[in-house]
Amino acid sequence: MTDIDLMTYFLGLEVTQKEEGIFVSQTSYAKDILERFKMESCNLVLTPVEKGVELRKSKVGNVDPTYFKILVGSLRYLTCTRLDILYRVGLINRYMETPDQSHLNAAKRILRYIKGIIN
């Protein structure tokens, strides 16, 4: 049994406890995702959802479903502290079975958005 004293890092959550309150973030986890999907030096966007783009289910997905599921799962874990991406993650969540390029683009847009809010 090791006494870690004040909680600072737990399951990817970074916790800072101060007089004014408790600050929770997943900065290093977000950086890990960006690195994993090779988006460390992508261009930023200011919103997680593109205006006017409607996603449809595709009959033949041309994106590896496993890859897409990993991406969605990683983003879902991040929704614990980033509630602003929750809606969008819920949207792309529906296309996990046969994802195509449009779904991947939507997912990548969330990554671009994260890149902008990471700090």
Binding site: M1, T2, D3, I4, M7, F10, L11, I22, Y77
Partner: protein, 159 residues
């Protein structure tokens, strides 16, 4: 390590699931602490799975290089769970769950992996368990100390 892949269901192991805290539960704990201006503390268990006791009878071959002369055909009977065995996580969870019960730290009936200890004068301690990591908070610092002392003694790193 312990040839866990050779284990057969119903013979070598029964139930293998173990409960862990949901991330939302942890977030709830953080918001509770923030609301009441409590501090959250953290503990972690070393060589966790070696702490679990086995329900099933399990035998292992003598490890290569450590085979006793004249007793080559004998096997060892395991007392504690191994890393790599199917039931290790559950055996550990059962062990720590019993520890909480023995120490009057009640299991929360609404959310699993949360344990609550109530004492006189509305003193309260919340513990949240995630396999071998646990966090705790509450309104009474002496209770933290008592809890820490007791659990460190129970789960000593030396075996």
């Amino acid at each position: 390590m312990a040839k866990g892949y050779k284990q057969r269901e119903g013979i070598d192991y029964g139930k293998v699931f173990a409960l862990v805290a949901r991330l939302e539960t942890i977030r709830l704990m953080i918001s509770l602490a923030a609301q009441y201006i409590w501090k959250i503390y953290q503990l972690d268990v070393k060589s966790t799975f070696l702490n679990g006791f086995l329900k099933e009878e399990i035998y292992v071959e003598q490890p290569l290089g450590y085979i006793e002369a004249e007793n080559e055909n004998k096997v060892y009977k395991l007392k504690k769970a191994f890393y790599g065995s199917k039931q290790a996580p559950r055996a550990w969870n059962t062990r720590i769950d019993r520890y909480f019960q023995d120490n009057e730290i009640e299991k929360c009936p609404y959310k699993h992996a949360i344990y609550v200890k109530k004492e006189a004068y509305d003193n309260i301690l919340f513990v949240c368990l995630y396999v071998d990591d646990l966090i705790f908070t509450g309104n009474n610092p002496p209770m933290f100390e008592d809890f820490k002392k007791s659990i460190v003694q129970e789960f000593d790193d030396r075996h």
